[in-house]
């Protein structure tokens, strides 16, 4: 039941956070620091998520060759301007293949 409470809290909280932005007063919107912050924070958080999801396992730094190869494939696909879906499928396919080959 604890997990359900956690899920309920997250659902309510995430919705409130979304609504708070849309409902904020205009003067907050116009503040340059707020705008700059809104542009910068997601970059730092998303980069951190990529790093943590790729290079950690159970709270420890961890190098997974297959996952790293998949992410490298994503980088190559992005450099070649591949569509989003191709990037994701390519990354998953390379990771799966690498796991198969590396055992």
């Amino acid at each position: 039941m604890t997990l359900w409470w956690a899920i309920a809290a997250l659902c309510a909280g995430c919705y409130a956070l979304k609504l708070a932005g849309l409902a904020a007063p205009q003067r907050v919107l116009d503040h340059p620091v707020v705008r700059r912050f809104a542009e910068l924070v997601p970059v730092a958080l998303l980069a951190a998520l990529i790093a943590v999801q790729t290079f950690t396992e159970a709270g420890e730094a961890h190098f997974d060759p297959a996952r790293t190869a998949g992410l490298a494939a994503a980088v190559v696909a992005l450099l070649l301007r591949a569509p989003f879906l191709v990037v994701l499928f390519g990354a998953a396919a390379v990771t799966a293949l690498a796991r198969l080959l590396l055992g």
Partner: protein
């Protein structure tokens, strides 16, 4: 929503992003069940939370054995960026009343990116709406499929599904990284901080800590 002109570009952009990103619900469903959530729990998260990074953060923390309160706090702080997106979208969407209550649920990375990429307000509104609708439908259907499928797959890692989350985040981030050297440095800083903090802090917290990497950039001018 209302009499918005349906021009090809925002509709195409919205559908492209919505359907493509929506498919990564497959990875979320798989990750949630792998972390120990039930299929209904995974589906409720996608229906009512509808913000992928927070959902992945919660399941990641639960799977790693994190305390539920810390897991929720981490996922919520990550959802805080949607507030900032809302700040930018409020002016562009100009929605009021009950419509705003509905539109608020759609304020996420992808809808913001598509809306802000449009040349005018009308296209921005169309882009937001099309992205929201297509992504919501695709994300929820694929969450269900991923969660159910995982029970049959056995090990989702064998299909490389664990790389879909980071690859999706990278693809979202890519245009901003390729456009600005400053943002590349910020991304590298955030990633390094999170990795260094991982052994010492509970799951979810290192990612939040990375937000501090924006401070030197903010203070620089």
């Amino acid at each position: 929503m209302d009499g918005t002109t349906h021009r090809p570009a925002p509709v195409r952009d919205g559908l492209g992003v919505g359907l493509a990103v929506g498919l990564s619900g497959l990875a979320f469903g798989a990750a949630a069940v792998t972390a120990g959530l039930s299929v209904p729990q995974a589906c409720v998260l996608s229906l009512l939370t509808f913000t992928g990074a927070s959902q992945f953060a919660l399941t990641g923390a639960v799977g790693a054995g994190g305390d539920p309160i810390a897991a929720v706090a981490g996922a919520l702080l990550l959802g805080g960026r949607n507030t900032l997106y809302g700040l930018r979208l409020a002016d562009l969407l100009q929605v009021r009343g009950p419509r705003r209550l509905l539109a608020a649920h759609g304020v996420i990375d992808e809808t913001t990116a598509v809306a802000l990429a449009q040349p005018d307000r009308e296209s921005a509104r169309t882009g937001f709406l099309v992205t929201f609708a297509s992504l919501y439908i695709a994300w929820n259907l694929t969450t269900l499929a991923g969660a159910y499928g995982t029970a049959f797959l056995g090990d989702p890692g064998a299909f490389g599904l664990d790389v879909v989350g980071p690859a999706a985040f990278l693809a979202i981030l890519w245009p901003r990284l390729s456009a600005s050297r400053e943002l590349r440095a910020l991304a590298a800083g955030g990633a390094a901080m999170a990795l260094c903090a991982t052994p010492f802090l509970p799951p979810g917290v290192p990612v939040l800590l990375a937000a501090a990497a924006v401070l030197p950039v903010l203070l620089r001018r």
